[in-house]
Amino acid sequence: MSSATSTRVPDGPADAVSHDSLWPPPFEGPADGLRPWQFFVLAALICATGVTWLLRGQGVTVVVLMTIVMGATALVGIAALRAIRPLVTSHQDRTPMIGARTRVALEREKMLALRAIKELEFDRAMTKVSDEDFRVMSGRLRARAGRLMRQLEASAGYRERVERDLVKRLGEKATAEPVARTCGSCSTANDADAQFCKACGAKL
């Protein structure tokens, strides 16, 4: 399986970036309560509404500008919290690491090495690189890419996480089937959304 099809690490304890949880994440899971950024956005909206009402009649430009000020002030709040929070909470760095480097960095370097190989192949086809030079340069790049692939695949639990994620994605498709309802009186199987039994008319 090609590691080029690597998927985003699933949400949960292995989430990639710990302290950017203050920012709106791209895919939201179930809400755990008001997050700091939500609080500040809400506060900004309320203040913007208040400002719009107070400055009504003074022109669109001023109202728009003051609304922007409110929004920017909310950003100040979020950023200030982002600065202070690591100092006052227990820090758990959940970024996937491989040795001293992050997984993201290694994956990117691998892709850059692959891209460099492709570029070298193109240069050879365009006679910008001799065959001998191509062999030497390409060999070096392939060795680097190979080392990076080994490092990435050897990191603990990587394959298992990918397989878990695949199972999860495939499983979501299969969960859509509705469950049939059985009548308590005559044991007839009814549709999942049925209110009364189709055979005896008893309420389900």
Binding site: S2, I78, P86, T95, R101, T102, R108, I117, M126, M149
Partner: protein, 824 residues
């Protein structure tokens, strides 16, 4: 509001200081907690500057004239658009705008790279925050844009300078600042790489797109400035080698050199020290350019003014910057050793080396010439002038050499080109150049510089077309698709390369436009209503004068009819505007331009007499000038293509729009195409009819001597239409009538002015010889350094050990091949 603004600046400064300390300590101690806090504080600076920006813009829009900055650069009747853009109209606001942009760009750069370059990020954050802290310190102690009046504030403001109330002038500073500020990011990554010792290619990859992005906006800003000068200053040209223009050009040279030399490091692990030096130099030149425009060290129409305190503060910052940066380079020299040698001068590496040498020569030459007046004043006590004639003498041949290299380098192979390579690659481009050159001579043109330029343009265009053709054929052979699909595919799969070729095509078109200067025609005429004159293919008839007022200014316009071969082709209205709120300043003049891709007809109303309606005009025919602007559009398109993220980066850039770069570049290009130039704005004018040159002495002196009125950027007095220049021309005419020779007239003016500052280029004698000698010395020393480096590389050093080959693993090889196929 003013107090809030000042508080925000103070808070931002405190946040900067915290960021620097916490990031450095966190990195040294390996504390993720401190590093994360530093990153958060870095974002906080951006948020605070956003609020501060909103506050100052609000002050402009609500006409809060209690704030000095607002009253200086705005007034109650100023259009809304110009009220907003007055934010960067003055020195204080421009510094704040700089910090705002830097904080936003820095936040984006840190956010994108926070996981890819974890080891570098703390020092990147600290470096950028240090630069921000310097500018914030400047504002807090000396140039606070929120400073208020101690006593009663004025009821109305002074208004933005009419010269700046122009569409091009509005977008020119933000574009230039984006370019300048963007160069801080590569510098920060370079410093971080030096501090941490992670000097492999990773820091280069982090900054390549940022450098291209900044370079694009720097180019855009320069081009806007050229368009503005062409339409605004009304002297018929677009680049006067004004010190402030040069200040923006200097980092452009070094950034261009960096964008090329980075490829050598990526492919051949050479020029590693050089790349770090270039990045430091580029950033230094952006700070130096800012220093030039704000310190009063140079005289320029673009300068913000004189400020000795600012001069000292900038000077100290630049000294610290250079000392720290180059100290790090020296410290890390062992790690920066090249891993490969220069095997042949007929190689792409050698071509890039020469390319870098030429670009750096240009940068240092322009820097020296810009500073020469200050240098001569400091040493001799006499402030000399170095104007266009001096620059053009050198930049013209150097520019042509650069054009040649643009064509040659892409044809050369890496490491060594064979004779067969060279023959196959150079045949058709050489034929194209020879055919073009011969055709040029055959039709009777004798301007050698323009002819050579046309031939070289043909050469470079042929190389670019050849590269596209061959690349598409290679892909067609590999994929089996049709030629057009293969062409699209080859560009899509090699965006950086082919985007770069399109940029080169843009450069060719720009040079093509420059070559038209060799055929420029101009005339100065005095006409009465009904009279006409002829220039080139055009007959221009002066019909009448009209006067109107729109409440802000009185507009005096000349109605002109333009004929070609007996048929009227245009009606033009060159004008002069007298601004009611700027009555102490001379009225400004609207230039009228009829544009075609072949040439522009450009008319300036120099002076008019209301009684007789007699008017004097300057008329220019500028061949090919619009290719310069079009060429830039092509450059922007090419840069946009090169900026596109690779498809395989999509997973790593999941949070950024993939097409962001394309969208930006496309919008930029559309802006350029649809931003049709307004009928040109103004030039200083005179109400006194100018004296026209009657003989060769007057014509030559009109080109050699520059106007010292202080408002035209030292235009030659033969073309400047102000009253000062007109007076000097009359004086020259009187001296010529009295029988004086050209040299005697120059001696007379030296005695009158007490120096040679009125000359466009200093006389070649005494200390001035240094000005003429310097380019030779610079070129020679540069060639020696390059040659020395090349010889050293070409000796058989013990090669650095190559990456250890992996043990044979068929499964790994197969998977590697699978992934390579997936890239297609």
């Amino acid at each position: 509001m003013a107090s809030l603004g000042t508080f925000l600046l103070l808070a931002a400064f405190v946040a900067c200081s915290y960021t620097v300390v916490v990031s450095v300590v966190g990195a040294r101690r390996g504390s993720r907690r401190l590093v994360e806090s530093g990153i958060g504080a870095f974002y906080l600076i951006a948020a605070l500057m956003t609020v501060a920006t909103a506050v100052i813009v609000n002050a402009f829009l609500t006409d809060d004239f209690t704030i000095k900055y607002v009253s200086r650069y705005s007034d109650s009747v100023q259009p809304l658009f110009y009220k907003i853009t007055s934010y960067w109209g003055g020195l204080d606001g421009s510094i704040m705008f700089w910090v705002f942009l830097l904080s936003v760009f820095g936040s984006i750069a840190v956010y994108v790279n926070r996981e890819r370059h974890r080891e570098l990020i703390p020092y990147v954050v600290a470096t950028i925050a240090t630069v921000q802290g310097f500018f914030l310190f400047l504002m807090i102690v000396h140039n606070n844009p929120f400073g208020t009046y101690v006593s009663a504030a004025p009821l109305d403001g002074e208004g933005l300078n009419p010269v700046l109330q122009n569409y091009w002038m509005v977008i020119h500073p933000p574009s230039l600042y984006t370019g300048f500020v963007g160069m801080t990011i590569p510098f920060a990554f370079g410093i971080a790489a030096l501090i941490t010792g992670h000097l492999d290619d990773s820091w280069l990859r982090a900054v390549r797109r940022w450098t291209m992005f900044a370079w694009l906006f720097l180019s855009f800003g320069l081009m806007l400035g050229m368009i503005w000068a062409y339409e605004e200053l009304g002297w018929g040209g677009y680049w006067g080698w004004d010190p402030v223009e040069n200040a923006a050009l200097l980092p452009w040279f070094t950034a261009t050199a960096f964008l090329h030399s980075v490829m050598v490091q990526e492919r051949r692990s050479m020029l590693r020290v050089w790349n770090v030096v270039l990045v430091i130099l580029t950033f230094f030149l952006t700070i130096f350019g800012t220093f030039l425009t704000r310190s009063g060290v140079v005289q320029s129409v673009h300068a913000f003014g004189q400020d000795p305190t600012l001069t000292w503060m900038f000077s100290i910052f630049m000294v610290v910057l250079l000392t720290f940066s180059f100290g790090l380079v020296i410290y890390r020299l062992p790690l920066l050793r090249a891993r490969n040698d220069l095997d042949s001068w007929m190689s792409r590496e050698a071509a890039f080396l020469v390319n870098n040498w030429i670009l750096l020569f240009c940068a240092f030459f322009v820097l020296f010439a810009t500073m020469f007046p200050t240098l001569s004043e400091a040493i001799n006590g006499e402030r000399l002038t170095v104007a266009a004639p001096f620059y053009n003498k050198w930049m013209l041949p150097i520019g042509l050499v650069l054009l040649v290299l643009t064509g040659i380098a892409p044809l050369l192979a890496w490491r060594k080109s064979t004779l067969i390579n060279l023959r196959d690659s150079f045949l058709w481009p050489t034929v194209a150049a020879l055919v073009t050159g011969s055709a040029f001579v055959a039709v009777g043109f004798r301007v050698w510089a323009s002819g050579l330029c046309f031939a070289l343009c043909a050469f470079v265009t042929a190389t670019i077309v050849q590269e596209f053709w061959r690349g598409a054929n290679v892909r067609r052979t590999t994929t089996g698709t049709d030629f057009f699909t293969a062409l699209v595919g080859v560009v899509g799969r090699n965006k950086r390369r082919y985007g770069g070729y399109i940029v080169h095509l843009g450069i060719v078109l720009i040079f093509f436009g420059f070559a038209g200067e060799g055929f420029k025609q101009n005339a100065q005429v005095l006409l009465r209503p009904g009279e006409q004159t002829t220039l080139g293919r055009y007959t221009i008839r002066y019909d009448r004068l009209s006067v109107e007022d729109d409440g802000q200014k009185q507009m005096t316009a000349a109605h002109m009819s333009v004929f070609r071969e007996g048929t009227q082709i245009a009606a033009l209205y060159p004008a002069k505007w007298a601004w009611h709120k700027h009555e102490t300043e001379p009225p400004t003049t609207e230039v009228a331009i009829r544009r075609t891709f072949a040439e522009d007809l450009y008319i300036v109303l120099a002076a008019a007499e209301a009684g007789t309606q007699a008017a004097s005009f300057q008329i220019f025919v500028n061949p090919l000038v619009n290719w310069v602007w079009f060429g830039f559009g092509i450059m922007a398109l090419g840069t946009g293509i090169a900026l596109l993220p690779e498809r395989t980066y999509a997973f790593a850039l999941a949070k950024l729009p993939e097409a962001a770069g394309t969208t930006t570049a496309a919008l930029l290009f559309v802006l350029m195409l649809f931003g049709a130039p307004l009928s040109a704005q103004h030039q200083e004018m005179s109400s006194i009819a100018p004296v026209l040159p009657r003989n060769q002495i007057e014509k030559r002196l009109g080109e050699k001597m520059v106007c010292l009125c202080g408002g035209c950027g030292k235009e030659p007095i033969g073309t400047c239409t102000c009253s000062t220049a007109a007076g000097v021309r009359r004086e020259i005419a009187t001296l010529v009538d009295s029988g004086k020779s050209e040299d005697q007239i120059i001696e007379y003016f030296i005695g009158k002015y007490g120096g040679q500052q009125f000359l466009g280029a200093p006389l070649d004698q005494g200390f001035n010889r240094l000005a003429w000698l310097f380019p030779y010395l610079l070129g020679a020393s540069g060639a020696v350094v390059v040659g020395f480096a090349a010889v050293r590389w070409s000796r058989n050093h013990d090669k650095a050990p190559a990456d250890a080959p992996a043990a044979a693993d068929q499964d790994l090889d197969d998977r590697l091949d699978d992934e390579l196929r997936n890239l297609d």
